[in-house]
């Protein structure tokens, strides 16, 4: 047949096209990944603004009075003893 020899070339082209399409699709897939690190940075910035915490200072590092309170037994029940009960889930 006349076209018996040609299809191999044609199939190669088709194959190349398929590879190129797959490659492009893969690139697009990578692009829609969620930028987790950037989101975390953005979240920190927004939280700093809303909670008015100075940048770079973690509010968690400020020692709150709550941990000390939980060690104190019921000798001074004036403040709010019910707060302590929740510390042990």
């Amino acid at each position: 047949m006349n076209f018996a020899a040609k299809p191999s070339l044609q199939w190669m082209n088709a194959f190349a096209l398929a590879v190129a399409t797959t490659g492009l699709t893969a690139c697009v897939t990578i692009n829609i990944y969620f930028p987790a690190a950037a989101a975390e940075k953005a979240a920190d910035k927004v939280i700093d603004e809303i909670w008015q915490t100075p940048a770079g200072q973690s509010p968690a590092s400020v020692p709150g009075p709550a941990p000390q309170e939980s060690d104190v037994p019921a000798a001074t029940p004036a403040v709010s003893p019910s707060v302590n009960q929740e510390s042990a889930p």
Partner: protein, 160 residues
């Protein structure tokens, strides 16, 4: 069978002719696609935009509300949930007369938080990122909470 091979061959021949005639157009299209992907990639690597007017308005609203919410975090009446919202943890810590006001405060805060997550996703051209942004915020609210504030872990309230 022969017919189908023949048809396929004809189709491929047409494709070949098309490629020959429109090769320069193809080349340009591929260049544009690659260039746009590179720019999208560069954009994705940069910071997320959190300064659109809508997001700024939500931030300002949440900032002023925080002054009223903060005492409730400290008392333990309100806590930070695992899914990036706030919830009344123990209404008993608040006088009866103030409980409905507290419920409204929490409701408004959660509405603003939903708007914040949605707004940041939209501002960056990916509304479908809302869930991921919410999860990121959920983690960061809890990580940055002051010690003593109630936070939710594995469905349980703990004091940080």
């Amino acid at each position: 069978m022969t017919l189908s091979i023949n048809t396929t061959y004809q189709w491929l021949m047409q494709l070949q002719l098309f490629k020959r005639d429109y090769y320069h157009i193809f080349k340009r299209m591929i260049f544009v696609v690659v260039a746009s992907m590179v720019s999208i990639q560069a954009h994705a690597a940069a910071d997320l935009d959190v300064n659109t007017p809508a997001v700024a308005a939500v931030k300002a609203s949440m900032q002023s509300r925080h002054q009223r919410l903060s005492p409730h975090y400290q008392s333990g009446a309100v806590g930070l949930t695992e899914d990036g919202f706030v919830a009344v943890r123990d209404a008993g810590l608040v006088p009866l007369s103030q409980r409905s006001a507290l419920a409204a405060l929490v409701k408004d805060e959660n509405a603003d938080r939903a708007r914040l997550y949605q707004g940041i996703a939209a501002a960056n051209g990916h509304p479908e990122w809302e869930g991921e942004i919410q999860r990121t915020f959920a983690q960061r609210w809890i990580d940055r909470a002051q010690s003593g504030w109630p936070v939710q872990r594995d469905g349980q309230w703990v004091r940080k």
